[in-house]
């Protein structure tokens, strides 16, 4: 598949996210706004497009919404997402007091507990780029103990897959560093590709998108399986740019009290945009952030 095809796909997703950002700007603050902001940021950077009104508009609204709010408003949000949002909002030229407070607290906590760094590499990377911490400075997480576990991972449950994801992200700094060689690396890469096929073949697109990035972090990236996965994700994109053929379940989702657009399509579309950008756009990594002064 040509990168141009992925570019078109990302561009369509960006258009959908931009439309959604207009809706979110009218609503109270929620984690969904941060997810949409992240999706717009990834697509803009991957496409190397010029200033996106959707991104800046949403960043401005989040900045305003969070200015008077205390921790309660953001306490349930994912910490990496909060810190990335802080980075994006600042990069767009807006203040983000509640987020900055949060960032300082996380930086202090990590400073006091060095052992926690391995579990919070994503947070540490963003904090470093924000000038709030000097991590990462040491070696990436060692995976040499995973040789024996590689085949057992074939039977991983979702929790074990998330744990594997966290370890490889820590070892590669979310794909921004070459993974050090370890015995069984090839085997591990094979198992991840198997999990990827199983997830997408079973239409678990969210897990599949995550595993697609993981497969690329561990390499090699020119595998047929990776190209198949990219192609599969693109074929699940609807004409308006969102990902996932779930409209046939619309009634069931409504009955379950879910807003399909925000609760299903938004997180899934951001996951797919992230995976396609990192595996198909040369040199793109979400966590490859330029330093930013607060």
């Amino acid at each position: 598949m040509q990168d141009a095809d992925i570019g078109k796909s990302l561009s369509a997703a960006q258009t959908w996210l931009r439309g959604l950002s207009v809706v979110l700007r009218q609503r109270d603050f929620s984690e969904r706004s941060l997810q949409c902001l992240l999706g717009l940021w990834i697509s803009e950077r991957a496409l190397e497009s010029t200033r996106s009104d959707g991104l800046h508009g949403l960043a401005g609204v989040i900045s305003e919404q969070l200015a008077p709010l205390q921790e309660a408003a953001i306490s349930s949000c994912d910490s990496k997402l909060l810190l990335l949002a802080l980075y994006i909002v600042r990069k767009c030229g807006y203040p983000a007091y509640a987020l900055e407070n949060y960032g300082r607290k996380v930086a202090d906590a990590l400073r006091q507990d060095a052992a926690a760094h391995d579990d919070h590499v994503g947070e540490a990377i963003v904090l470093a780029r924000l000038g709030l911490s000097n991590y990462p400075c040491g070696n990436a997480v060692d995976l040499s103990d995973m040789r024996a576990a590689a085949h057992n991972l074939l039977h991983s449950d979702p929790e074990a897959i998330r744990s594997l994801y966290a370890r490889i992200c820590a070892a590669t700094h979310f794909g921004t560093q070459e993974c050090r060689w370890f015995p069984g690396r090839q085997q591990m890469a094979f198992v991840i590709r198997v999990l990827l096929i199983d997830a997408l073949n079973g239409y678990d697109m969210s897990t599949g998108a995550m595993l697609l990035r993981l497969a690329a972090y561990l390499g090699p990236t020119n595998e047929a399986v990776i190209r198949d996965a990219q192609s599969f994700l693109r074929l699940q994109q609807l004409s308006d740019g969102r990902f996932g053929q779930y409209d046939l379940h619309a009634e069931a989702l409504r009955d379950a009290g879910l807003d399909a657009r925000l609760d299903l399509y938004l997180p899934l579309t951001v996951s797919c945009v992230w995976a396609l950008a990192e595996t198909a756009m040369p040199g793109f990594r979400l966590f490859s952030l330029s330093p930013l002064e607060l």
Binding site: L154, Q187, F190, I197, N201, G208, A224, V225, F232
Partner: protein, 301 residues
């Protein structure tokens, strides 16, 4: 734990024991709650297995195989097979398998069908009716295995029409698609008896890559039916991998003491329906194909 090299034979031997113990259920003419079509299919697969086991000294001398072949020879007298041969072109393959296998074991009697089969192949629509590509490969394979003359295209030509030759996207494959991949490999390699020499080393490497990834997926899903087929398919490519060793270990672990290996749909069978016949229905294919895989992996005599 059994050394890796002995696992395939161990699985096959135990599977054959289970098949022997359940032989009566393969009779398509007996009264049974299992559909007649399924039992005809099961019988054809059993007979094909016997044809392939004949090539291996370690298997063909098993007493269970002698009993199975005596059972098959008895069934061969049923007029159904004569009618299949002469009346229904799409039902020829099981008759071919039966004829080739009985000949291989020297069990042909006065009702030898060779001449009649050759006439049907020449004068009927058997070779020109439309079949999906791997079924056409199946026909060619059994005609060749039985030594019958035919005008079917070459293996290379038939292979080029299959799903796997078109480099499918693995994310979209259904179970049936995977069966079409394994079966295509069985037929073009004569169940690992021949090298697939019309494929380039690069093409072999690509197909092997597909097979090993799918093997991982079906091991993950504990679908021992397709896992066993994929293990056999890997050997048909003349390749092995570290993943196949794991596959054999897990297949051995999944095998019950009596030799049965649970089929992928057994879980859907309610507890009160798990009588011997329904267990046979749900598990015979997985057990049989595990015997086949074990045979393919065992050292040829």
């Amino acid at each position: 734990m059994l050394p890796a090299g002995l696992m395939p034979f161990a699985v096959a031997e135990k599977s054959i024991r289970w098949i022997h113990g359940n032989l009566s259920y393969f009779d398509p003419f007996a009264k049974s709650p299992i559909s007649e079509d399924l039992r005809h299919k099961a019988l054809a697969e059993l007979v094909l297995l016997c044809l392939l086991l004949k090539r291996h000294e370690n298997f063909r001398s098993l007493p269970e195989i002698r009993d199975v072949m005596a059972f098959v020879a008895d069934l061969n007298d049923n007029p159904f097979f004569e009618a299949s041969l002469c009346r229904w072109n799409d039902a020829l393959v099981p008759v071919l398998i039966l004829a080739a296998t009985l000949e291989a074991y020297g069990l042909t009697a006065e009702n030898d069908r060779r001449q009649m089969i050759q006439k049907v192949v020449r004068d009927s629509n058997v070779c020109i009716i439309e079949r999906i590509p791997y079924r056409q490969l199946e026909l060619r394979h059994i005609l060749d295995a039985g030594g019958f003359a035919h005008g079917l295209p070459s293996y290379r030509e038939l292979w080029s029409r299959t799903l796997v030759a078109h480099r499918p996207n693995l994310m979209f494959l259904s179970d049936n698609d995977v069966y079409s991949i394994t079966h295509a490999l069985f037929y073009v390699s004569d169940f690992s008896a021949h090298n697939v020499d019309f494929l380039t080393p690069q093409e072999i490497a690509y197909v092997h890559d597909v097979v090993t990834h799918l093997l991982g997926v079906y091991i993950r899903r504990k679908n021992w039916d397709l896992a066993a087929e994929l293990l056999a398919a890997e050997k048909c490519l003349g390749r092995i991998s570290r993943h196949s060793v794991m596959g054999w270990r897990l297949l051995l672990e999944a095998q019950h003491a009596d030799g049965r290996i649970d089929g992928p749909y057994l879980g859907q069978l309610a507890d009160d329906k798990r009588d011997a016949e329904h267990l046979f229905d749900a598990c015979y294919h997985t057990t049989l194909v595990s015997a086949l895989a074990g045979m393919v992996w065992s050292r040829r005599s």
